[in-house]
Symmetry: none
Subunit: 308 residues, 2 copies
């Protein structure tokens, strides 16, 4: 969800509503993960100029519907039988076997480059690198926050809001991440977007933001716990650096959900952020060298290379 | 594929060949993984005594069939549209959307116990918790370090050593992790075990250990880079807290390898450890509250509960 910049303004009027993928022309696979059963495809929509990106991800199984899946409606074809082990190809009724499809149109060059890239590099960003390289890069990108302002101004995704604390300083909007189907506890994934503007990322956090962090963390966990029946000690909250968009937001996941966005070198636990600001100085995140990964064809990586 | 023991002998004659799951009665979900779209279910087959285990795993997408999936046969139902992002529920034709089913019958008690799912809990360990709960726990376990001493004393696994720096203070032994097949770059995984004894974990690290950390990190990366042809900026190094054994060691992975052991709340980047010790005080890891996950049936989790 980024890099759309100017294109998004033109596109907001594009009211795309597909009923099937009829006429879609696949150009290439940008990325896939057999472990996760996800694929990112670049292609063209019928009668629309420019590339679209389609992300398909199969839904997880759920305890609520598993008896319906393990019934006469699921046909089996034996492929191997050995001792106590039988292996089958199963055909599950489509109504019990959904796939999440995300269609991004128009898709910017940046997005396609990021998804299609091959090599990943570890970057060590000193405070000086941030001022010289990353900060100017963020400022150029500020236009692409339109979609997040739409949410905060109740112009879009209003019906998806799970909870809102309207306080201008410590308030936030909680809503499901696009990756989550809103049904399964196992891959529960929500986002908290703060109302206050001007915190681009982790780098901008100071001790004055501790009340915001604590409020987002505790209220968010409480609401999720009540609404989805998960103990608060099984909800993890973290922040990404680099984030995919530079308006401060927080990720809420089921502790069992091992999403790669939670890897060290990308994710920072909110509890740790609070501790560091409270115990090791208000400018902890201004002064620290931060490590993250960038792909070969990301703009920010090229900026880092130019400045070496 | 074990634990079937005697039962399998009786069962090998059982020629089970299912055509659907008609009459299958779900008893419970043993384990599931939303990320991998896999579920392990215990239940009963019609007219068969004793439990069966069914494992369902959705198939990954493939480049060969993706154009068929992204066609008129896949129906879409819009769930959300905002700016350039559209989210749909997709119904893919069953012939393009298979699921692997493994049926284990009869399933032994051992197998069922092993698969039986456990809850995972986030723990916040204060410095006081460490002294009161974790440290005594580590000290009781010290006997179990024999195998690591065997490696350091060249009494075991000598032929697996990739590199050794024999220095008693900053030296270490580098060897492949058991998870790595030693062939594929994509899941490259090595371990560095320091010669010096007495550093149980991250908690014990002080500024005096910075030379050890820097030596293990830089020499390890250099050796791996030369031997396996990976640029050093594509090798990530981290430390686990809690570790699986309490003799200080370091993990070296290909930056693209998204192993769950690298998740925040478990992994700590060595670069960050060095920075924290150098810039934010020698006792940073003694004073900080550390967050990690523990499963319900882990001994340390029970100790934390007893001390609440």
């Amino acid at each position: 969800r980024k890099d759309s910049a100017k294109m998004s303004e033109e596109a907001s009027s594009v009211d795309l509503q597909l009923e099937s993928f009829e006429g879609f022309r696949v150009q290439c696979t940008l990325k896939e993960n057999a472990q996760q059963k996800i694929i990112f495809v670049q292609g063209e929509l019928p009668d629309r100029a420019g590339p679209a990106v389609v992300i398909l991800e199969k839904s997880p199984f759920s305890q609520e519907t598993i008896q319906n899946v393990l019934s006469g409606t699921t046909a089996l074809k034996l492929s191997m039988q050995n001792d106590i082990y039988g292996q089958y190809e199963a055909s599950i009724d489509p109504s019990l076997n959904r796939t999440q499809a995300t269609v991004i149109y128009p898709a910017s060059e940046d997005l396609i480059a990021k998804l299609g890239s091959k090599e990943t590099n570890l970057v060590r960003e000193t405070p000086q690198d941030y001022e010289l390289i990353t900060k100017p890069f963020i400022e150029e990108k500020s236009l692409s926050l339109q979609w997040i302002h739409n949410i905060l101004d109740h112009k879009a995704e209003q019906e998806r809001i799970v909870y809102e604390d309207p306080d201008p300083d410590v308030g936030f909007i909680l809503l499901p991440d696009l990756k989550w189907d809103r049904h399964h506890q196992e891959n529960l994934y929500l986002l908290g977007v703060c109302h206050t503007r001007g915190i681009a990322s982790l780098r901008d956090l100071r001790a004055t933001h501790v009340p915001l962090l604590k409020n987002m963390m505790s209220k968010g966990k409480e609401v999720i716990s009540e609404k989805y029946g998960i103990p608060t000690c099984q909800i993890k909250t973290y922040v990404h650096y680099q984030p995919s968009y530079y308006h401060f937001h927080m990720h809420y996941l089921h502790v069992k959900f091992e999403h790669p966005g939670g890897l060290v070198g990308k994710a920072h636990l909110v509890e740790d952020i609070v501790d560091n600001l409270e115990c090791f100085g208000s400018t902890y995140y201004k002064e620290r060298t931060l490590t993250f990964t960038l792909r070969d064809n990301e703009k920010l990586w090229r900026r880092f290379q130019e400045n070496q």
